[in-house]
């Protein structure tokens, strides 16, 4: 999907929310406590709502009869623009929580930048989304602290999840030509500029959680924003897209 930079940008924002929501939806009815089941669903629902706003705007930009559903259901994995972090499998609850925490901390910073976008439609969605994401971040930070500083077992599970997911944070702060153009037009922000604030927030929470920040350097997978994904995304999409793909043209 070679489109305008704005289209690419909207797809990135929409796909992050959509794919993470899809992952959270897999938890339905299987959470570690009833209250947590409801919270996971609630987060999935918020993110899905955001995805629909971003993708509807992307569809307007794309024209050609596209809508939120054609974008969600009829693109192949190479056309998805989400960060690798959000497509990583749920694993156990600790993995899901740490993934959420790393993402929430980034998303709240990213959306804050977009509040000041020169693109009124983007700023309006950011304004709605940031309220939800701020709440998600408070929740995920609080749980990281309580479970990190809980039992030896919970601490070990969180630390293992953190060690596994940590390499994916690099992509959050890696810009490309699309980011540069969005920055130049006053629409977007420089991803690298969020790194320090993100690190300092995450470090504080992890310290309170008695968890160890993984060492810098090493493996830094990226490419999701440009459509080069892990093997996980194809399977996620196969499941998500099965009905519209097997009933072409049907309305639901």
């Amino acid at each position: 999907m070679a489109g305008s930079a704005r289209l690419e940008y909207l797809l990135r924002l929409g796909d992050n929310a959509l794919i993470l929501s899809q992952r959270l939806g897999e938890w339905c009815g299987k959470g570690p406590a009833l209250e947590e089941d409801m919270a996971l669903t609630n987060t999935a629902l918020d993110l899905l709502g955001q995805a629909r706003l971003w993708l509807s705007l992307a569809a307007e930009e794309a024209g050609d009869g596209a809508d939120e559903d054609t974008l969600a259901y009829l693109r192949d994995d190479r056309a998805f623009r989400n960060l690798l972090l959000v497509e990583q499998p749920n694993g156990g609850y600790a993995d899901t929580l740490v993934r959420q925490f790393l993402f929430d901390a980034w998303a709240s910073l990213a959306l804050r930048q977009l509040l000041g976008s020169s693109d009124a439609a983007i700023a309006a969605i950011a304004e709605k989304a940031i309220k939800e994401v701020s709440y998600h971040l408070r929740r995920s930070s609080d749980l990281v602290v309580r479970l990190g500083d809980g039992t030896a077992r919970s601490r070990a599970l969180l630390q293992a999840a953190l060690d596994t997911l940590w390499p994916y944070h690099h992509e959050l702060f890696t810009g490309d030509a699309v980011d540069a153009e969005m920055l130049a037009r006053g629409i977007g922000f420089d991803p690298a500029s969020l790194r320090d604030a993100w690190l300092s927030y995450v470090r504080d929470v992890l310290a309170e959680a008695t968890l160890t920040v993984p060492s810098a350097g090493g493996w830094a997978p990226k490419g999701g924003k440009q459509g080069l994904h892990s093997e996980h995304l194809g399977k996620l999409l196969a499941e998500m897209q099965v009905l519209p793909r097997s009933h072409p043209g049907a309305r639901w």
């Binding site: 406590a33 409801m38 899905l48 709502g49 993708l55 309580r146 809980g150 077992r153 919970s154 049907a250």
Partner: protein
């Protein structure tokens, strides 16, 4: 009420009878029983069984529909389904809380479910094979649930009645959404229409079974009606459901899978065919298509979450200890 027993020693049989008579009088007068009021032990036990069974149904009921969250065919339908399943978890929470007012803990109830001592609605032991099943569940299963629960908004036990009022509002919404999903399929492609008909074929009879055995075979009915924790008989409710649903199926252009179904002008009701009660009792006994899987999924979720629940307790303990140390 335990305190009362201690105060007065073991009450005489006559005193108990008098107390029960006063209790029944309150119910007959339409006065709600509240958690702190005296109540016969059998009333308390019956309610715990009924409310916890309902709570378990909400929780297990998340699974068959949850099966389609990741495959919902449009983002709007996905959002509706996520919200519905979240509502069901919320219903489970209110109902567990209502049962807790009767002196049982949520952990105990969950344990009873996992050990197979407590039941949940048998309907959730049927599989959701196609997307149309999500519509059929909303339309028929939530529809039957509402039929059952609207009268319970007036039941004698206050906390249960109040929980039902909240729950029923949302169930009515679920039913409309389920019907709307079916309507989209019924107005859709031939494959979608076939999907809708197939779902009705599979869910029709189990939905009618949701009201429980025929009145003649229903064990708890008479006493529960006197206590006003059951306001209509199983057969009365089942008839209402059939009468309500048949015209809705007709509007969808779907055929109710019952050759004996026909309008009886004299009775002013639909006559319908015999229900296969052997199937019903078989599923209740644990031999439905998904009994093992549903319970296993819940048990696994609970076991996998043990570290999570332990850690929250441990953290709360540490935080409290730190607060005490600070204050000292």
């Amino acid at each position: 009420m335990y305190a009362q027993m201690v105060d007065t020693g073991t009450p005489s049989a006559a005193a108990v009878d008098a107390q029960e008579a006063r209790f029944q009088q309150r119910i007959d007068d339409g006065i709600r029983i509240e958690a702190q009021d005296w109540m016969p032990e059998r009333y308390r036990r019956t309610l715990i069984r009924q409310i916890s069974q309902h709570a378990h149904s909400e929780i297990v009921g998340q699974l068959p529909e949850g099966n389609w969250i990741t495959r919902a065919p449009s983002l709007k339908r996905k959002a509706i389904l996520l919200a519905k399943v979240q509502d069901e978890a919320g219903h489970g929470l209110y109902l567990y809380s209502a049962a807790e007012t009767l002196g049982i803990s949520r952990d105990q109830m969950v344990d009873d479910l996992h050990a197979g001592r407590a039941k949940y609605s048998s309907i959730f032991n049927y599989p959701t094979l196609t997307w149309a099943d999500v519509g059929a569940i909303g339309w028929l299963v939530d529809g039957s649930a509402i039929m059952n629960q609207i009268p319970l908004c007036r039941c004698s036990y206050g906390p249960y009645a109040r929980a039902m009022i909240r729950v029923c509002k949302e169930e009515a919404f679920h039913m409309r959404q389920g019907y709307d999903l079916m309507l989209a399929l019924a107005r859709g492609t031939p494959a979608q229409q076939a999907m809708a008909q197939d779902a009705l074929n599979r869910w029709w009879w189990p939905s009618l079974m949701m009201f429980g055995p025929p009145d003649g075979d229903s064990v708890h009915s008479a006493q529960s009606q006197a206590w006003k924790i059951k306001l209509f008989t199983n057969d009365e409710l089942r008839q209402k459901m059939v009468d309500q649903t048949v015209p809705q199926a007709e509007y969808l252009g779907l055929t109710v899978p019952d050759p004996d179904l026909k309008w009886n002008a004299e009775r002013g009701h639909y006559d319908f065919g015999a229900i296969d009660w052997e199937e019903f009792y078989n599923v209740v006994k644990g031999n439905g298509p998904c009994n093992r899987e549903r319970l296993e999924t819940r048990r696994r979720a609970w076991d996998d979450g043990e570290w999570f629940r332990e850690a929250l307790v441990a953290h709360a303990g540490k935080a409290a200890a730190r607060a005490t140390a600070k204050a000292a």
